[in-house]
């Protein structure tokens, strides 16, 4: 079902002793760069995403805000989130619009949490992709994600999210949102190129008075393959609660980290303990020499 790929660098629930096929991992890391300062909030990217990926989410209702639909869903993989920010320094109202969706982390919390072998993979180019036929619907990826992105479908109880148009990227095209964006706010290319481009944009924004403009490429998750240029990079929370220092949570780290070896050791120790005890002490039988006057009576 999944496209044959021999450049998978991470595979969910797979032992390091039996790695996924990764003989070809010389690919350049790719990245999508979303320049929030250029975005006009037209939602063309949302439409392009639905069109290319053949997603037909239910037509929702107006909730009194510009966000439409209201939230990401199994059939809405990208969403413009609108925030109104009153800048006390400049005295201006700023309309901060962020295109939300999977960030394609270098260290993906969804992949770490996933218990189903091969249900989540990461390609050498950095794209994190769900292999839905292996998905068991446990929703652990939802809890593992530091950005609250994956969504379980009510139709088939499987998790969905942005694929970074892996099917397009694999054949040398850019993701559909990038292709469609009318203002050029979304760029796509190698991660190094996108970092260079972001540097230029940040310098320009600095020159226009946005002293705290910067690139959002959070290192707590090893960097991401979807990055933002923000006018207020020092306050990413302004952009509809974009986390300042996203990390895989301690509970998930503990659960998938130290708890496993400790549990394995405890199982071995317990089973070995019973073996040593039984062989050492012998079965607890009733003393046959003890006269049982009760039963003879």
């Amino acid at each position: 079902m999944s496209m044959q790929s021999q450049d998978i660098i991470k595979r969910s629930a797979t032992s390091a002793l039996t790695p996924p096929p990764h003989a070809r991992d010389q690919q350049a890391e790719v990245a999508k760069l979303i320049d929030v300062s250029i975005c006009i909030g037209c939602k063309a990217c949302q439409v392009a995403c639905s069109e290319w990926n053949d997603l037909r989410d239910e037509v929702g209702e107006n909730f009194g805000v510009y966000d439409n639909p209201r939230d990401l869903s199994a059939e809405t993989w990208t969403l413009m989130r609108f925030a109104e920010y009153e800048n006390s320094e400049s005295g201006k109202l700023e309309w901060l619009i962020r295109k939300d969706g999977c960030m394609h982390c270098a260290d993906p919390g969804c992949l770490k949490a996933c218990p189903s072998p091969g249900a989540i993979v990461q390609y050498a180019n950095g794209i994190v992709d769900f292999q839905s036929e292996h998905c068991i619907g446990c929703g652990y990826c939802v809890a593992g994600c530091p950005f609250n992105v994956p969504r379980l479908s009510g139709k088939d109880n499987k998790a969905y999210k942005c694929t970074l148009c892996v099917d397009r990227v694999s054949v040398g095209q850019e993701p559909s949102c990038v292709k469609t964006c009318p203002t050029g706010a979304i760029n796509f290319g190698s991660k190094a190129d996108m970092q260079f481009l972001a540097g230029q944009r940040v310098a320009e924004l600095n020159g226009r008075g946005f002293a705290n403009a910067g690139l959002y490429d959070p290192q707590g998750v090893g960097g991401t393959h979807v990055m933002y240029v923000l006018h207020h990079a020092d306050k990413p929370e302004l952009y509809h609660n974009l986390p300042k220092d996203p990390r895989i949570s301690t509970a998930i780290q503990g659960w998938k980290g130290w708890l496993k070896p400790i549990a394995a050791a405890a199982f071995f120790a317990t089973i070995a303990g019973t073996l040593f005890h039984y062989v050492g002490v012998g079965a607890q039988t009733l003393d046959p020499e003890q006269e049982d006057e009760e039963e003879q009576a």
Partner: protein, 211 residues
């Protein structure tokens, strides 16, 4: 089957409840292990494959809780802590060697069995609560993601501790010959009762000071 001179240790309903629970626990534990240790992911084939196992695991888990709730009601009065229990812990080395210290004068369940009882009851409660927090698609959407993360951690931890307790429980039943009869036929010999649970033996036989 009633045996001459044998003593009923476990009534039919309690035995049946125990064994129905064992069947459920086997499948729930195996599927749980299949997700905790990816190298054991083949274990979820026992419940019909990963997707089906994921659906069935929580329902069977709730069944285990219900069976245990019944066992709790039937057995709790025999498992209340007593002053003599501390002595059992102090003498645990002797107990594990299989030496019978008459002074311990154990009742229906010894202090170690009481630890097992309360351990199982505590852990199954924790498993139920944490399990509801992470149960998709039904209940998990009602809780915040940080809460679900803690639920995931606690569910795994409690599941492992419960399995360790159950391994110990199975071993001890195997080690002390005659114990399995107490849960299969329900009957134990008078000698068994007098040796392992003398105070309980006196209570059921009405003997004041039997040897």
């Amino acid at each position: 089957m009633k045996r001459k001179n044998a003593i009923l240790r476990t009534p039919y309903t309690v035995r049946m409840c125990h064994w129905l629970m064992v069947v459920c626990f086997f499948f729930v534990a195996m599927s749980g292990l299949s997700w905790f240790f990816p190298s054991l992911s083949w274990l979820n084939s026992l419940l019909g494959g990963p997707q089906l196992a994921r659906i069935l695991h929580p329902f069977m888990g709730v069944l285990i809780f219900l069976f245990l709730a019944y066992l709790f009601m039937r057995l709790v009065r025999h498992n209340l802590p007593e002053p003599g229990d501390s002595k059992w812990f102090a003498e645990i080395g002797q107990v594990l060697k299989g030496d019978h210290n008459e002074e311990l004068d154990t009742g229906k369940y010894n202090a170690g069995q009481k630890v097992l009882f309360w351990g199982i009851m505590g852990l199954i409660s924790l498993l139920l609560i944490s399990g509801v927090l992470i149960w998709r698609p039904y209940f998990a959407p009602l809780f915040s993601i940080p809460t679900i993360r803690i639920g995931l951690f606690l569910h795994a931890l409690a599941g492992i501790l419960l399995m360790l307790l159950v391994i110990g429980h199975i071993y001890l039943a195997f080690w002390v010959k005659g114990s399995v009869d107490a849960m299969s036929s329900g009957y134990v010999s008078r000698k068994w009762a007098r040796t392992h649970h003398p105070r309980w033996y006196r209570q059921v036989t009405g003997k004041k000071d039997a040897p």
